[in-house]
């Protein structure tokens, strides 16, 4: 999958960080915080 992601703009969605391939940045989303949250931008 790393090869698939190479050189592209990628947005990955997962329910847990542990199952992800390598990414540059992890953004946490939670239901209570659907409102603009620092760390989202």
């Amino acid at each position: 999958m790393a090869e698939l992601m190479r050189g592209r703009t990628v947005v990955v969605v997962a329910h847990r960080a542990g199952v992800l391939p390598h990414v540059d940045r992890v953004v946490e989303v939670s239901p209570a915080q659907r409102v603009a949250v620092p760390g989202w931008a």
Binding site: T9, V11, V26, V27, P31
Partner: protein, 507 residues
């Protein structure tokens, strides 16, 4: 004519033509019926009076009856063709109408219903077009023709028929209303009792697992008996309407025949007149009885037509933009204070959310279900429009871009990818049908999907069944990854890509 029928005529003009042609043919048929009755009566009366058997005299009624057979054949044949053409026209309209529906709603919603509508659903229009419309045409024309000739022949009998004819629809409606109430209440009970067998058979493995299969044998029998009793109770009432209709029709024939017979005794009428009236009387009622039966059968078809119109009237998408994609898609993406509300839900899926992604950046969105992650991907794909705020691609509002051009630059791997009826290679080529075999293999290698594809019976040419039947969830996901790889797009959106995969097994 009900509103849905009128609309059907408008939307499918050939149906209106079909009704007109049916009316003309019914007119011709009615004329032939009258001719048959009059000619047979004459032949028999002549024979009775001793004028001998003239071969020619018999040939003419034979020709008329043959003509009736021909007209019946043409009527039926044209009706079947009208049905075939009308269904095809409606199927095309529904397919075009689907394009306007939000694809996510279509895919996630009761998709089975729309697909059924296109196939078995529209077939329910057959009884309406082939049965109801021609009999409706006949009802307006044939009784008039028959009555007309009867009046010319013997106005007293014609009067009896004229007075009893309206009784059929009147009684039909009255009894129909009464029975409809009673049967509606029974409907739920009947469908529950009737559905018991399917429930038990579907759960038979579970029953065996808990050793309860023997016990259910008796229950199946009991439930079927209960179903029978409830059904017969309902039918006792439901069949009353046809009892009334048929009795009125046959009684009327007796009401015509007996007085005419008595008048014959007194020498007031000729045999030929009496026989003509006897042959004609049942023909006056026949179209009404046929129309009654056809009317019941057509109800389902009209229900389907309403569903079709619901699809055609469905919400359209907002006007789409036409700008080209800036920088070929190799640009930053940004979600700017976006709020998304799904219709019918009180709480918005996303509220005032902002996110920006630099060109070439790999960002992960992590969080529990219901947090709006998939909605964000839908936004970026253009499947969902923000209620407030905007999504920009390289600084340009996504809503102003040509949607198809944008999707060419985005590869999406959904959480539950759909595999189509087609070969493995065709599925991988979804985004680029013109890709070469080597490119397909390279994509499969990168997914990686090459391994299990090689083990399939026909390799890349293996036909996948409905929804990718035959492949495991993990294998389906790999094919979806290969699809995305083949598209070679600058933007990649992945939704739970490792849900079914062994994380440690490959790179």
């Amino acid at each position: 004519m009900k509103a849905v029928e009128r609309r059907l005529m408008n939307e499918v003009p050939l149906l209106r033509r079909h009704l007109q042609v049916s009316t003309v043919l019914a007119l011709v048929g009615g004329g032939l019926v009258v001719a048959q009755a009059a000619l047979l009566a004459k032949v028999l009366a002549d024979g009775f009076a001793g004028y001998g058997a003239d071969g020619a005299a018999v040939v003419v009624p034979a020709a008329v009856m043959g003509g009736r057979a021909l007209v019946a054949w043409v009527r039926g044949f044209l009706a079947q063709r009208a049905a075939a053409d009308a269904k095809r026209a409606l199927r095309d309209r529904v397919t075009a109408g689907l394009r306007r529906t939000n694809p996510l709603r279509l895919a996630g919603g009761r998709h089975g219903e729309t697909a059924t509508l296109l196939t078995r659903g529209l077939d329910a229009l057959d009884p309406y077009i082939v049965g109801h419309l021609p009999t409706k045409a006949a009802v307006t024309v044939v009784p008039l023709v028959v009555l007309g000739w009867m009046a010319r022949t013997d106005w007293a009998s014609a009067l009896v028929v004229l007075m009893t004819l309206p009784l059929l629809p009147v009684f039909g409606v009255l009894v129909g209303m009464h029975t409809a109430q009673r049967t509606a209440k029974q409907w739920e009970l009947l469908s529950r009792l009737g559905g018991h067998f399917l429930d038990v058979v579907a759960g038979l493995p579970t029953l065996r697992a808990f050793g309860r299969e023997r016990h259910q044998v008796g229950v199946v029998r009991e439930m079927a008996e209960a179903h029978r009793r409830a059904t017969v109770r309902t039918l006792r009432v439901a069949f009353l309407s046809s009892l009334v209709l048929e009795t009125v029709a046959t009684l009327s024939v007796a009401l015509v025949a007996v007085p005419v017979g008595l008048r014959l005794l007194g020498g007031e009428v000729e045999l030929e007149v009496a026989l003509t009236v006897l042959f004609l009387a049942p023909e006056a009622y026949l179209p009404l009885r046929a129309a009654g039966a056809a009317f019941h059968d057509s109800a389902e078809g009209l229900g389907v037509a309403e569903k079709v119109f619901a699809v055609l009237d469905g919400e359209g998408r907002a006007a789409e933009g036409a700008l080209p994609v800036p920088g070929g898609g190799r640009v930053p993406l940004s979600v700017d204070r976006v709020t998304v509300r799904y219709p019918g839900r009180a709480v918005p899926a996303l509220e005032g959310v902002s996110l920006s992604v630099r060109t070439g950046e790999h960002v992960a969105l992590v969080g529990p279900s219901g947090a709006g992650k998939s909605t964000l991907l839908a936004l970026l794909l253009g499947f969902v429009e923000p209620g407030e705020g905007r999504v920009t691609v390289g600084g340009v509002d996504l809503a102003q871009l040509d949607a198809e051009a944008w999707r060419e630059r985005v590869a999406w791997v959904p959480q539950r990818p759909h595999l189509f009826a087609g070969t493995v290679a065709e599925n991988i080529r979804l985004g680029r049908p013109g890709a070469s075999e080597a490119e397909v293999r390279a994509a499969a290698r990168a997914a990686p999907a090459e391994g299990f594809v090689a083990e399939l019976p026909d390799g890349y040419d293996t036909a996948l069944g409905e929804s990718g039947f035959g492949l495991s969830a993990g294998q389906r996901q790999r094919i979806a990854l290969a699809r995305a790889f083949l598209l070679d797009a600058p933007v990649l959106l992945l939704d739970e890509p490792t849900a079914h995969l062994d994380v440690g097994s490959e790179g």
